[in-house]
Amino acid sequence: MIEAVATMSALGLGLGTILGVAARRFHVETPPIVDEIEAQLPGTNCGQCGFPGCRGAAEAVAEGAAPVTLCPPGGREVAVTLAEITGAEPPGSGGTGQDAEPVVAFIFEDHCTGCTKCFKRCPTDAIIGAAKQIHTVVNDACIGCDACVAVCPTEAIILRTKPRTLRNWHWPKPGTPADATL
């Protein structure tokens, strides 16, 4: 009994010391730019960029492994700030993702069983509902991150473009196809 306790304690102490020394000795300084970039990202860890959370994305951007336009919920604003921080080419008004139509989740009420799986996953609390009650999405809070779509057991959730309302409507750019209909 006493031998066992002693052995385990010695083992723990010894390994702990080694680890502690190693941590001090081989410490890698995180570039401060990573923290700076992370502060700009939404912090919802939604995973739309394909990196493990906002921290991962910040590291990738700092290394230059990912474009500054990687964050769909952040949109153009974040892309511009990231470009300023990293000194990368600021996103133009042309094609790339940052000007894409924002998307939000939509729940088909017919299919919703009220299982609460989706609203537990929502990083911004944009889904409201309760057990065995039909859930719904608050469009203004939804960032279109896809987390709820993946967990829905009845496939009742889809992503759709954010509905246009009188509040967010604006005149189309003259000369574009959208303008021609007016």
């Binding site: 009994m1 919802t44 008004s93 609390d125 604006h170 189309p172 000369g175």
Partner: protein, 515 residues
């Protein structure tokens, strides 16, 4: 004598400090001689809850309710909002979304009323004698009546009357310029209801506590000027009618102030900072009706005109009447119009469907034929400077346009995009038919969109943080509960152990067993 006329001449020549303005063909003759006529009760009324700048009103009636004329059906929400009242008696047949009188045709929450034909008044607004009422009471009355600026901007009038609390106001200017071509409704109102208008002006002057009143009317409305001049004594405080030159955009608030007082409003500031408040002539009429008769804002006078209308007219319509029914009242359309506009031809909104209602800020319905509209192929800018010459705000439209085309909105803002009043003078004057003002409207909308995205970004961050805090709190609470349970368990075990072996001191084997 000669000095006076000289100074008057100078003022006329340099109405906007020597810059800008255009002279479009006014075509007011189409409807200027038609007296205001009341339209018979329409078959259906669609009353939008968002007819003003600010927050949407909240419906206070439900489907199936019987409403009386003047009854409150939408309650203002927040400080900048406006009440909405039933324009006639009838049954509420729907509370829901219908197409808005807006170029997008997007839905807006609307209360649909089927008139019962009796046009029966409900309770009117409480009685108030303006001569004895305090400014606060008058402003509150105006607020209850749901009155908004009727020149088109639809800013809640009560908020503007309350400006006296923040600024020292000296002058009230009544905007009777009506500089938009075709429109004649304010002209007719001033000619036919000058006494009522003067009364409304007097009430507003009292509410604002101003020292003087100036009624500004463009020189192409001599009858209106004469009619108003006859009533100036009734206003009570020093009041006069000023004839301003016929020059578009004279009716723009800041430009009118400059033309009348010579003072230029700083960029993005309120005219109230100069001690001047501007109200529209039609708003004064609405204030008169609200204070003297307790009538909320449920109808308005508008001009139906354009070569595409069989019988151009000035019609008094109930708010919520469909454009189609008003056009039918005016003899219908003459052929298919090239454009159907709500408001004037310079700043009016094109609509896609006739099945949209008129709202508090609609001052005209225009059906323009091909000969009146201008749709030419856009050609390259020849840098003639024509747009700079006519810009009443002293901006450089061609430069801003170039920046917007290149996608650099921030640079366009730097050279004054946000000071543009979207009057359209630049587009009107451009020999290459470049869509200048359209481009500025797009850019302003885009900027607002980006602003809202930024706001959403911050909100998302906040939401994520609150969620994380909540999750952490839950986890912490769980951990504590677990620890408490463990402690309880241990205590119980200890108690049990004590009760099992009461007097015996803890022997060594027990320690070994538990260890």
């Amino acid at each position: 004598m000669s000095l006076i006329s000289l100074s008057a001449l100078r003022r006329t020549a340099g109405a906007f400090a020597g810059r800008g303005g255009i002279h479009p063909e006014t075509r007011k003759y189409l409807s200027a001689d038609s007296p205001i006529e009341a339209m018979p009760l329409p078959s259906i009324l669609r009353v939008p809850l968002q007819q003003h700048i600010g927050a949407e009103a909240v419906p206070v009636v439900a489907r199936g309710d019987q409403v009386l004329k003047g009854q409150l059906i939408g309650k203002a929400r927040g400080p900048v909002s406006a009440n909405v009242h039933a324009p006639t008696s009838g049954k509420v047949i729907a509370v829901g979304y219908f197409a808005a009188p807006h170029p997008s045709g997007l839905p807006v929450s609307t209360i649909t009323i089927r008139p019962d034909g009796a046009d029966r008044w409900g309770a009117r607004l409480p009685r108030l004698v303006p001569e004895q009422a305090t400014p606060d009471e008058i402003a509150d009355h105006v607020k209850q009546a749901g009155i908004v600026g009727m020149g088109g901007a639809t800013f809640p009038s009560a908020v503007k009357l309350d400006l006296r609390k923040r600024f020292a106001l000296k002058t009230l200017i009544i905007n009777g310029a009506e500089c938009e071509p075709y429109l004649t409704c304010d002209d007719r109102l001033m000619r036919e209801f000058s006494e009522e208008l003067a009364d409304g002006i007097a009430i507003m002057a009292r509410a604002l506590g101003v020292e003087q009143v100036i009624v500004a009317i463009e020189s192409n409305k001599p009858q209106a000027i004469e009619a108003m001049q006859r009533r100036m004594l009734a206003i009570g405080c020093p009041a006069r009618v000023t004839r301003v030159p016929t020059l578009y955009p004279m009716g723009s608030e800041k430009h009118l102030v400059q033309a009348v007082t010579g003072l230029e409003t700083p960029a993005r500031a309120l005219t109230a900072e100069l001690g001047v408040v501007v109200h529209n002539a039609a708003t004064a009429y609405a204030v008169h009706l609200a204070l003297r008769y307790g009538e909320p804002l449920i109808s308005r006078v508008l001009t139906v005109s354009g070569f595409g209308v069989t019988r151009p007219a000035n019609v008094k319509v109930l708010i919520g009447t469909l454009v189609a029914e008003i056009l039918d009242h005016c003899g219908g359309l003459d052929g298919t119009p090239d454009r159907l506009l709500l408001g004037g031809p310079m700043m009016g909104l094109p609509i896609r469907s006739q099945r949209v209602p008129v709202i508090k800020g609609t001052n005209g319905i225009l059906a323009l034929q091909k000969s009146e509209t201008r749709r030419h192929r856009e050609m390259p800018c020849i840098r003639c400077g024509g747009c700079i010459k006519v810009c009443p705000c002293g901006l450089m439209p061609m430069e801003m346009h170039g920046m917007i085309q290149a996608g650099d909105l921030d640079k366009a803002v730097d050279i004054g995009l946000l000071d543009c009043v979207a009057c359209g003078s630049c587009s009107f004057n451009c020999p290459s038919n470049i869509q200048l003002v359209q481009s500025f409207n797009y850019a302003k909308g885009r900027l607002a969109f980006q602003q809202s995205q930024k706001h959403q970004q911050e909100e998302t961050k906040r939401l994520a943080e609150t969620r994380k805090a909540r999750m952490d709190a839950i986890a912490e609470a769980k951990r504590q509960a677990m620890a408490r349970r463990k402690a309880e368990m241990a205590a119980r075990k200890k108690r049990e152990a004590e009760t099992e072996t009461p007097a015996v001191p803890a022997p060594a084997p027990t320690a070994e067993r538990t260890g």
